[in-house]
Amino acid sequence: MLASLKKKETYTRYFKSFKFAFYCMTHPLDGYWDLTHEKRGSLAVANTILILTLVARIASLQFTSFIFNRVYWPEVNIFLYLGSIVFPLALWVVGNWALTTLFDGKARLPQIYMATCYAMLPYPLFQFPLIIFSNVVTVNEAEFYTLINTIVLIFCGIYIVVAMMQIHEYTMSKTILFTAFSIFAMLVIVFILLLFFSMISQGIAYFVSIVREILFRI
């Protein structure tokens, strides 16, 4: 791992696949196919895009004009805020993988993660200019900001679906079906997690109370 950091081709490959992320934005069908099948994407770039997304989200929280972004600072928890991206992403990747692996999906877990991250690129790419833009508009022109923001988010969504289609070698209708199933799977996972944590905490509370009782009696 460390040794590879010293090699020059590691970096050339990194920049090449970073450039490829932009190619994916303009040529989604072709791009996402090559991502896994031609091995032109890399996890390092996927991580970079995820970090950029998180940075963009925090930056927009702090720097977007208060016209669009009213933050009650006493209630802000930066980790929860970042979790609102990372946690659904993790759920999506796991949920999608768990389903597609049973239904001839060709992609492996890291590849699903990689493709999803690549598809998120429009968000950080547009968010930074939008932050600047938000600071030079008035409420009368607020619609432009909201419109661009919405379009970017819709594009991210479309890219994720297209990316899934290409890496799994699915048809369009099958992809949409499995996107819906993946979302359902995410809900199921959340439900099981809640159940699990509530069980654990109940169990721990049970033993804690037993120990307390014993200590009290002795």
């Binding site: 208060f66 016209i67 006493p74 008035t138 409420v139 009368n140």
Partner: protein, 500 residues
């Protein structure tokens, strides 16, 4: 959308607020007598805007029997009229000093060509230059008397078909306009205010609240049987509780017939301001609904929303409403922003048991308590006076003066949103846009911020137009030149003559 976002944003705060405000109510005398809500709906305690100048009971006026459930209060010049309902009398008082109120006379009967020359449960009085108008409730009439207590005429039950003749006519609250027309609220009448011409003819009803219903109720009613339908609530307008006519002739109304749900979904307006056509023209630009307390705790035996039982409006179009439920007074400015809220339930000066009426004299406030049988006189403190001064100066166009006054208010209360926005508005009018923007941004006033920013942006572009043109030119021209040079270079490199 904006309101929704605010509500969601403030919801979490709300839960916290209710928790926080409860213990404070208990020890209210030291802290938290006066408060306002900030942008997020958090309670911000403020210095007192009003202080008690005196509490007066029947003993102070030299009367033998104490007031019994007084309901009506009216101020005309420096005369104060208390309608002592259960004693069937009216007290005419005069304010003789800053903290002195003296009895002028006790009105129990009048003379003239009419069968009954006494009152029976009078509820309200209105006074103009020459006449008294008295809502003589249980006698079913509104009396018009001269100031020497001679009977002139009475306004009686309308004989019109629009008035249900089977129903008793119980005039409850009255106001008169400058032309001598009488507007009256009668018990069990929900069609609006009953309007009489000066000669006593019934004109009609004005200003009924729009009847509202929700869709589910409507569907249920459609499928219910007749007997079930009779059990259900009717979709009818709400009854008014009190009226007040301001110096411009607009009528303020309040209703206590409200529930928390109705206030939340906006189907009822506790305070309305009616024009001559009877339509509501109250400005509601504030962050919060004009309904008294925004967050309702259920501590100390009190529950439900504020019951706004009376209203009084100053000359500068700000107004104060009186909450019967928790004994509080809420001041609002002409835009519907809360200026201050103070008061509470209790027996100490400045607290009430069941306040029934409010009036103003200049910027002083008079509150009548029906259970405590007392009249409380409030005078504005330095803080309260500064707020009024700042608003009045702004209205009269002295923006620098208004700014200075608001700055003094901030010195006394740094948590006062309106002061920041006030400074911002004053700066905006003084064309100091950049500074104004900071003040608006601080208190989340996007509308005013945008106004200031628009001017500032225009100014900035005008000042820097040369640089903008240069930068744009550079951005456009440099790639062109570079392209051209590259092209020439390419042509030279590939030209046949230079080939070796």
């Amino acid at each position: 959308m904006k309101r929704l976002a605010k509500r969601i944003g403030a919801f979490a705060a709300a839960c916290l607020m209710i928790l926080v405000s409860m213990p404070i109510q208990a020890q209210a005398a030291e802290k938290g007598y006066t408060y306002t809500y900030d942008y997020w709906g958090d309670v911000q305690y403020s210095p007192d805007a009003y202080e008690v100048a005196g509490t007066f009971t029947a003993v102070d006026f030299g009367l033998e029997n104490k007031l019994t459930s007084p309901q009506g209060l009216f101020v005309y010049k420096d005369y104060i009229y208390i309608v002592d309902t259960n004693n069937n009398r009216i007290l005419e008082l005069q304010r003789t000093g800053d903290t002195k109120i003296e009895l002028v006379r006790e009105i129990t009967e009048f003379t003239g060509d009419v069968e009954v020359t006494t009152f029976n449960a009078p509820h309200d009085i209105a006074v103009d230059e020459d006449y008294f108008y008295i809502a003589d409730k249980s006698n079913g009439r509104v009396l018009k008397l001269t100031k020497d207590l001679e009977y002139v005429m009475s306004f009686t039950k309308p004989t019109d078909a629009t008035f249900d003749q089977a129903m008793e006519f119980l005039p409850h609250k009255i106001v008169i306009d400058t032309a001598g027309r009488v507007y009256c609220i009668a018990t069990n009448v929900n069609k609006g205010l009953i309007k009489y011409e000066p000669d006593g003819t019934f004109v009609g009803f004005v200003g009924a609240t729009p009847a509202t219903y929700n869709f589910m109720d409507y569907i249920w009613k459609k499928i219910a049987t007749k007997a079930q339908r009779a059990q259900m609530e009717n979709f009818v307008p709400t009854e008014y509780d009190n009226i007040y006519i301001d110096h411009e002739g607009f009528i303020y109304t309040t209703t206590t017939n409200v529930t928390e749900v109705e206030i939340d979904n906006g189907s009822v307006d506790p305070v309305r301001r009616l024009n001559m056509m009877g339509s509501d023209i109250l400005i509601r630009n504030g962050n919060w609904v004009i309904c008294g307390d925004v967050w309702i705790g259920n501590a100390g035996g009190y529950s439900g929303p504020s019951l706004l039982t009376d209203v009084t409006a100053f000359e500068n179009e700000s107004y104060v409403v009186l909450d019967r439920n928790r004994g509080r007074l809420f001041g609002y400015d002409d835009q519907g922003n809360m200026l201050f809220a103070f008061g509470g339930s209790g027996n100490v000066d400045g607290y009430f048991r069941t306040p029934s009426a409010i009036e103003h004299m200049g910027y002083d406030l008079l509150v009548l308590d029906a259970v405590d049988c007392s009249l409380t006189l409030f005078t504005p403190t330095e803080y309260g006076n500064l707020i009024y001064e700042a608003m009045d100066l702004f209205k009269s166009g002295d923006y620098a003066g208004s700014e200075a006054a608001w700055r003094k208010v901030i010195a006394l209360n740094g948590n006062y949103d309106l002061a920041y926005i006030g400074i911002g508005r004053a700066l905006l009018r003084q064309q100091r846009y950049r500074e104004a923007m900071d003040y608006f941004e601080l208190k989340w006033d996007a509308e005013n911020y945008s106004k200031a920013f628009q001017y500032y942006r225009k100014e900035w572009v005008e000042e820097n137009i040369i640089w903008i043109v240069i930068v744009l030119a550079v951005i456009i021209v440099i790639p062109l030149i570079v392209g051209r040079i590259k092209k020439i270079k390419y042509e030279i490199d590939t030209a046949d003559i230079f080939r070796r």
